[in-house]
Amino acid sequence: MKTTSIQWQAVINGTVREIEIPPSRRLLDILREDLDLTGTKISCEIGRCGACMVLIDGEPMNSCLMMAYQCEGTEITTIEGLHGETEDALHPIQEAFLEEGGFQCGYCTPGMIISTKALLDRLPQPEEQEIKEGLCGNLCRCTGYGGIMRAVESAADKCAQRSSLIPAVDS
């Protein structure tokens, strides 16, 4: 079977999106050009900087490396899909980046926050080395990473506090 154009469908930030596009179109272009979701940034276009990081079925992926057919039918979360308890509220990770100075120009920030989300979902209380491992695919040229490290540590604490507020189901 061959295709030059597909009716591409994915759940993006909780909403089903369907568009007709070439199957080789990059997810990065789908997001930024076709869907006007410009929070996902474009920088190196070869997966080396992480500015275009999104979650695909919960896993961090570089949307510049991802072709449409490779993520068809998946659940995609971009920075626009991240929020706190209400849609207007900040996610604890976003709060932590804001409070700790985890960014300057902000261009790497959406990708950095997405990678942090993936990291904390997997390891709620990461060690320093685990944070560095989790974020080694995201480059930042402004902060020197000090503020980012502090932000991720603080985000882990915030997330832990939030989840401890939710009563456990049993025991």
């Binding site: 992926m61 490396l65 490779q70």
Partner: protein, 329 residues
Amino acid sequence: MNMYQHNSSLSTPLVPTVWEPSSAEEAVFLKRQYGADAAYIAGSTLLRTQWENGLLSMPEHMIRLDTIPGLRGITEHKQRIQIGALTSLRECGKNQLMRIHGNTCYTACCHIAAPSIRNQGTIGGNISSAVGDMIPALLVHDARLVWLDQANHLAPYEQELIDWLEQVRLGRRSPDAILLGIVLDKGEPDFVSMHHDQEESTFACNSFSESSSWREVSFYRKVGRREAFTPSLVTVAFRALMNREGTLVDVKMAAGGGAGLAMRLSRCEHLLEGQVYDPQQTATLAAQVEEEWASYSDPFASEAYRRQTAGNLLAAGLWEILYQEMERG
């Protein structure tokens, strides 16, 4: 020398056709039909880099491999494990079979590129590049590759990785062959599989079991241009069996890195084979590696540097195994 090529890299702004073969045979057929205008696509992480950097032009025909059933996952058989070529590096880096039967490969998988790349990149892609960081690790495990090719009448066949690398070196690599999987032999039943992580992330070494006199010792080391997410300058792997007296047998050593093809270091292996390793041999071993490994120079590292580093890493790795052995008493 690399030239910028605006005048030739694009034929027309047409979009590629994406093919979705339902079998490997169909994929090979498509590849033969379109030749150089077609490319197999697995994770596409390396291909995308090459397209964007203008090193390759985007093919007119993309042949998906992910629509072929059975190319994903790691399965255990009586005497071997088989790794589907489309298994992601991340899956490989989480897999216990891999950890037990391909320990240096397992370590390599955990440290190639960055987490997001490992989510998308496949082990088959890493091997097909011929310069992937997995290759030195696979070499010391005597990995075999399973191919499907017209030349073999579309019947899957196995080939030693080392033989395939030789084909690549001679420019005789089959352009149409599809890598279906990788086969690793399980170890001898009388040696063990107790594994534990060392402090240093790129170092792994197995330990004795009470019931066994031989155990596997192995390590994998990569030196890049920065701490992480970096192209390799030098990658080495080591694997051998060692008894309580420190005698080494079945020694396997390999070195690779950068754009150079990895190779086994058979003279170094011979130097250690059947010997009780003496720490005084460190310098000799390093010098032997330096002499045996044919590397290359580029703007980022000289050949002399690569050779010396490979020698140092292998000698020091072995030294560390013995050191820990003695610490352990």
